[in-house]
Structure formats: C-alpha cells, structure tokens
C-alpha cells in the first residue's frame, strides 16, 4: 500500500502526519518505510532520530509513505501522486488552508483518478467555531474528507523527537483510529 501526503502549502502537517502514520503502523508489526521527496528532508531527519525506516532500494514494505514538498508544481509531488493508491491532503481548520487543500485534491484527482483521495482535517480543536466552519466549508466542495481527524496535541510534535513512546494513551488511541480510517480506504 502506497500512501502519499501532499499539500500546496507548507506547515499543514504533512511530515508530522507521515511520521505519525509510520509510528502507528510500526506498532502493528507491519513493515513500513518512508520515501522522502521533500528537499527539506524533515521526514528523513525525524526518522533518523527515532530510528524509523526510510525506503531502501528494492525493499517492499507493507506500507510505503511518501512525503512531498509543499508544492503542486514540482515533479516530486506529481510522481508521488501517480505512484500512490491513497492520497492524503492534510489541512488545518483555517479557511486559507482549506481552499488550498481543495485545489490539491483536484490536482490529485486529475493526475491519478484511480487513487483514494481524502482531505485530512488536522489540528482540530473540538467544539471550536473554526473546526465546525472547516467541516462546513469542506462539505460544500467536491473533495472527500476523511472522517477521522487528528486533534491539536503537543504530543504529536513530540513524536518527531521521541517516537511512539512520546504519545500519551489518548493520542495513541486517536492515532490508531485515524490509521484504521486511512488503511480501510483500500480494504
């Protein structure tokens, strides 16, 4: 299973989501690796720190996560979209990010219509007006939204430094439920 994480904007949580999925899938005993297309190499840096797995030539992990640069015009993003079966487009609940996410979803749909494409609402704060507005705003677009969301938690940032062990029980459960929602897209 190949999962690409794309976004037109930076700072929406692509790399964090990539590392979180890597850690969650690793817990299940399945093999997982990350292909880092982002020139910033943030995913590679985090993986090196938490002893994660980068894709090796010839390796065939059960799940390959593809992190991409924050752009829709770079060939790396197009290559990731063409190669993936699942395309996740993270966005924060901010309207500006949502508009860009919708554009990224249309880009992915055009490049790879066979893939399961979902917008992921990241860093949500339950009950806030912005999160409710984000859902409403996204429901008016043609793009599909992943029903599972990830809350705005400090521990998700700590994963980049300490791996799975940095997550508290609530975060672990939320992340597992999120991972089920992602992996079931092709199940």
């Amino acid at each position: 299973m190949k999962i690409a994480l794309i976004a037109k904007k930076g700072g929406v949580g692509k790399t964090t989501l990539c590392v979180l999925l890597h850690e969650a899938i690793k817990q299940t005993g399945q093999t997982v690796a990350v292909r880092d297309y982002d020139a910033q190499g943030s995913a590679s840096k985090a993986l090196a720190r938490i002893e994660g797995t980068k894709e090796l030539p010839g390796s065939k992990p059960d799940v390959l996560l593809i992190d991409t640069p924050p752009s829709l015009t770079l060939p790396a993003t197009a290559a990731a979209v063409l190669d993936a079966e699942i395309i996740l487009i993270p966005t924060s609940p901010s309207p500006l990010d949502i508009w860009e996410a919708d554009e990224a979803a249309r880009f992915a749909q055009e490049k790879n219509p066979n893939a399961a494409i979902r917008i992921v609402v990241n860093r949500t704060k339950t009950g806030t007006l912005l999160t409710d507005a984000a859902r409403e705003s996204l429901s008016g677009t043609a793009s599909q939204i992943l029903p599972a969301t990830l809350a705005d938690r400090q521990s998700y940032q700590h994963v980049l430094l300490g791996g799975w062990g940095a997550l508290d029980a609530k975060a672990q459960k939320e992340l597992f439920q999120f991972t089920i929602a992602v992996t079931s897209l092709r199940a």
Binding site: M1, D38, A39, P57, L74, A79, I180, R186, A187
Partner: protein, 133 residues
C-alpha cells in the same frame, strides 16, 4: 475499542489491501487473475510491466530474463562510466558498463535529488537542444 483490537483492525486492513493490489491488473488489463496469469501467460514478454503484480511475475521468471536496451550517453556520462569501470578493475572485479548502470539504478536515491538531477540533465540533453534548433 482497546489497543489490541485497534492494532488488529489496522493489520486486517493492510492484509486485505495487499490482496487487492495483486488483483488490480486483472481489472485494468481484462485478463485472468494473477495466479492464472502466471501459469497461462508464461513466456509472454510482449506487454510492458505496467503494474507491481506484472513486475513480480517477470521477476519470478528468473535471473536470466531481460531485454537489450540502448542508451544515449554524452561524453561526461561515458567518462563517468569509464571511471567507475576503472574503480571496479582496481578492486579485481571485471568491469562493464552493464554492471555499473545496474548497480547505479539500484543505489540511486528516490527523493528530490533524483528529480533535480533529471531536470538538470534534461535541460542539457544534447539531442533535445539539436532537435529544437
């Protein structure tokens, strides 16, 4: 749901997904399922490997399978190949362009560096420049 159930659900999703991936070529290529595919189409080497499953079938065919490929190389490429060949020779390994290129494509990084280099080389491609003139 406890942690174990969540982990089991993810594993189940991934396992189901894997079997679907191997069946995908069946749908897109209007041919028989993969198992039948490997037995009934043995020796058929006319179709290009368009899917992971087809690539796998070809790989299983053995180390002897393959095709001749012609490459266009500029003077710098040829000089690098020669240099790598000399390096192999210095290690007591019989040098050839074939082994150098095959090792290189397995070792190359699959990241932004690859795309940047491709763009750079494409812009310097002598054939293209001549063609545009």
């Amino acid at each position: 749901m406890d942690k174990k159930s969540l982990i089991a659900q993810i594993s189940k999703n991934l396992t189901v997904s894997d079997s679907e991936i191997s069946l995908e070529p069946k749908k897109s290529r209007n041919s028989s399922p993969q198992k039948e595919n490997s037995s009934s189409r043995t020796g058929d080497r006319t179709d290009p490997p368009k899917s992971p499953a087809v690539s796998k079938v070809k790989k299983d065919a053995g180390a002897g399978s393959g095709k001749q490929t012609a490459l266009w190389l500029d003077d710098e490429d040829r000089s690098i190949l020669h240099e790598m060949g000399m390096l192999l020779y210095s290690q007591g390994i019989k040098p050839s362009h074939n082994v150098v290129i095959r090792a290189a494509i397995r070792l190359m990084p699959k990241d932004h560096r690859f795309f940047e280099k491709v763009q750079e080389l494409a812009s310097q491609d002598g054939r293209k420049i001549r063609h545009h003139k």
